[in-house]
Symmetry: C2
Subunit: 364 residues, 2 copies
DNA sequence: TATGTTGTTTAAACCGCTTTAACGACCGCG
DNA sequence: CGCGGTCGTTAAAGCGGTTTAAACAACATA
C-alpha cells in the first residue's frame, strides 16, 4: 500500500512477487536460471505495478547512458526551414526508440560547440554522438577521439579522419543537373554555393565545376549563397544583373532555400524561368514541387540516413569501430525550372563555336 | 596515474585533493562548511582531472533527471520545412544549457504517442515534458497528470485542462490580416485551414471568420490545407477554379507552407498576385520574404516561446504549478502578396475567362 | 553415508554521486 | 578545568538498478 505515492521500484515488484530484487532483474533481462513459473509471476507483478526500470539507475550500473547525442551548431538565425534535420532525427529515432533509448539534442552557437561535446562526454549522458554538417578541417573528429566519445560522421568519409562515416553522395545529383543543362543547350552555368566551411558545400561546388569542365565549358561564376534565402537572393541579383550577353543562362544552387529565393529574384528582375534562366536546387524541400515554376531539385533520403547513422554508431559503441556506409545517392528530380537555353541571345560566342560538348558521366 | 584509462570519478578527485568524496561533492555544489583553501584545492584537482559529475549518478541520487522531454507526434511525411521547431528547441536549450541540463527528443507516430509519454515518465529519464501541437480534446494533459509527469502546455490556455499554459496569440495576426484586406477593398475572403484536429488550426480559422463577420461580410469558403504544400496547392486550385464572379479575391492561409504553394498555383492558373488575388500566410518562414511576390505573413517568436515554456516547466517541477504565460502576439508583416482588391466587382479581369484551370479535388 | 550435480534463488558488492549525522579539534567561557 | 559551541571534515547510508558468487534444495552417483 505504501507504494501508492512514489513510483514503484524493483523492490516493490520483488515484494509483490515474493522474490528477491535480483530475481526481478533476472526476469526483466531474460537471464537464464529462473524457473519459468517464477519468471512469469515476476513479469505479472511488474506489469501490475506498471514498473519499468529507472534509466538513470540502469545507466549507472551498466555504465551505458542509453542515449545518443546530437549537437546542432547553428547561428540562431540560420535555424529553420531546413527539412533535413527533422527527417534525419526521425530516422535516428526509428533505431533508438524500439529499444527504449533516446536522443539528446543540443543546439549551440559556434563558440560553445566544443564545450557541448566535452560536456556530453564528461557527463556520461550519452553513449556516443552523431557528427553532422562536417566542416573543412573539422575539429570534432579529433575532439571526440580525445574525449573517447564514440562518434560517427554523417557525411563524406574523406573528412572522417578515421572515424566511421555514413555518407550519402550528393555529387551525382549535381553532375546530372549540369549534364542535363548542357543537353538543354546551356553554355553558361553559374553556381550559388553554400557556406564555404561546410564540406558538403565544397563538394557540391566541385561536382558542379567538374561536370561543367567535363562538358568542355568554362565554369561560370560562383557566388556565395550561404544556404540561406537572403544569400541566395543576393547572389542571384548579382548574377542576373550582368549584361544579357554575360549573364548565365542556368544557375545551380547548393540548396533549395537559396534556389527558391533565386526564383523570386529572377521574377522580380523580369526574367522568366526557365525561358530566360534555368534554376536547380538541392534538398527537395516540400515546397520545391510548388514553387513557380516547380523547382528542379534532388532528394536525399534523410530518414534512411538517420537510421543508418544510428546503426553505425551502435556498432562503433559495441565494437569500437564500424565499416563506412554509403547510401544510395541523391537523385535529380528535373522539374519545370530547368528548360532549354534561351535561343540565339545569351551565351559566349567562343564557346558556342569551338566546343563540342561530350557529355560523359564522372565516376564517383 | 591509474585513472588514465577510465573517466575520473569523484573518488579520484578526492584522492588527488587529499580529502573525502563528500568534501568534493560539497565543493562542487557550493555547500557551506568547507574551508576556502580546501575548496579551491578540490576545484583545482577536479579541473586537473577534467572531472564532471556523472549525470546518471546525480540523477539517481537526487531523483532528478536533469532533462526535459519533447515528443513530436508527426506523420513521417509531415516532417520537415516547419521552421517552428528548430527555433523553439533552441529557445528551450537557452534555458537548459547554462545549467547543464538537456533536451530529450522523441519523434513518434500517432499510435505510439501515449506509449512515448508513459515510457518517459516510467523511465525517469526526464523531469517533465513540453506539450506542443495541442489537439482538440487532447488526451495528453490527462495522461501526464495520471502519470504524474510534470508538463506545460505550449499553446492556448483553454486547452490546457488545468496544466500551466504558455501561449502566444496568433489571432491578432489573422484579425489584422482580414482587416487589412477589407481596407484594401476585398469582400470575398477565403481561408485555407490547417489540420482540424489542431487547436491552433481552429483558432486561426475562428479568428479569420470572426474578423470577416466583424467587417459585415460573409465568410468565404474554408478549405482544408493540412499545413502542407500539397494541401495548400489543392485547396487553392479549388478556390481559384471557381467562376471569376464567385472566386475569392483574397485567401488567408493557416501557414506559410500552404500559402506558398498557393502562390504557385495562382501563377499556374494565370492569376497575378496580388492583382487578381491577395494571399496571406503565417509563420514568416525564411522564404516568405523571397517568394514572388513576397508573402505577407506573421512572425511568432518561437525562440522566446521555447525559453518561456522551459522556464514555466521549471516552475511546475519545483512548485507543482506555475502561472500561465502569455507572450507578445504574432504580428502581421504585410508584404506585396496583399494588395487592393481587383477593381470592377468581385474579382475581374478580362483574360481570365480564357483560362482553363486544371482542377483536381483531393481528399484531405 | 559422503559426494557431487544440477537447478533456483538470494545476499552482497558495486556503479558514482548526495546527504545526514557524527566526529575531532579548537574556541571562549564560567 | 570542564563545558557547550563552532568549524571543518568524513563515515555511512541511501538512490535503483546489475551482477558475481555463494547458499540452498533436491536428487543422482559412488
Amino acid at each position: 500500500m505504501a507504494a501508492r505515492d512514489r513510483r514503484p521500484t524493483i523492490a516493490d515488484v520483488a515484494k509483490l512477487a515474493g522474490v528477491s530484487p535480483s530475481a526481478v532483474s533476472f526476469a526483466l533481462n531474460g537471464r537464464p536460471g529462473l524457473a519459468k513459473e517464477t519468471k512469469s509471476r515476476i513479469l505479472a507483478a511488474a506489469a501490475e505495478l506498471g514498473w519499468r526500470p529507472s534509466r538513470p539507475a540502469q545507466a549507472l550500473s551498466h555504465g551505458k547512458a542509453g542515449a545518443f547525442g546530437l549537437v546542432l551548431t547553428r547561428e540562431t538565425d540560420a535555424i529553420g526551414a531546413d527539412p533535413f534535420f527533422p527527417a534525419f532525427i526521425a530516422g535516428v529515432e526509428s533505431v533508438l526508440s524500439p529499444r527504449g533509448d533516446s536522443l539528446v539534442l543540443h543546439v549551440t552557437g559556434p563558440d560553445d560547440e566544443a564545450a557541448a561535446y566535452t560536456r556530453l562526454a564528461a557527463d556520461r549522458r550519452v553513449d556516443g554522438v552523431l557528427l553532422t554538417d562536417m566542416r573543412i578541417d573539422d575539429p570534432r573528429p579529433a575532439l571526440t577521439s580525445e574525449l573517447r566519445l564514440p562518434a560517427v560522421v554523417v557525411g563524406d568519409p574523406e573528412c572522417a579522419q578515421g572515424l566511421c562515416a555514413v555518407g550519402l553522395d550528393d555529387r551525382p545529383a549535381f553532375t546530372s543537373a549540369v549534364e542535363r543543362l548542357v543537353e538543354l543547350g546551356h553554355r553558361h552555368i553559374a553556381h550559388v554555393a553554400g557556406p564555404q566551411e561546410f564540406r558538403h558545400s565544397r563538394r557540391r561546388q566541385e561536382s558542379w565545376e567538374l561536370a561543367v569542365r567535363a562538358a568542355g565549358l568554362t565554369p561560370g561564376p560562383v557566388l556565395p549563397g550561404g544556404f540561406t534565402a537572403d544569400g541566395g537572393a543576393a547572389a542571384t541579383r548579382e548574377l542576373l544583373a550582368a549584361d544579357a550577353r554575360d549573364r548565365p543562362t542556368a544557375i545551380v544552387y547548393a540548396n533549395d532555400l537559396s534556389a527558391t529565393a533565386g526564383l523570386a529574384v529572377a521574377h522580380q528582375l523580369g526574367l522568366a524561368v526557365p525561358e530566360d534562366v534555368s534554376v536547380v536546387g538541392y534538398d527537395d524541400t516540400p515546397l520545391a514541387a510548388y514553387t513557380h515554376p516547380p523547382l528542379a531539385s534532388a532528394r536525399a533520403d534523410a530518414l534512411g540516413w538517420g537510421a543508418a547513422a544510428a546503426r553505425a554508431l551502435d556498432a562503433v559503441i559495441k565494437d569500437g569501430r564500424a565499416d563506412d556506409v554509403e547510401l544510395a545517392p541523391a537523385e535529380l528530380l528535373p522539374r519545370a525550372s530547368m528548360g532549354p537555353a534561351p535561343a540565339g541571345g545569351p551565351g559566349r560566342k567562343s564557346e558556342r563555336t569551338t566546343i563540342r560538348p561530350t557529355v560523359r558521366r564522372e565516376p564517383c
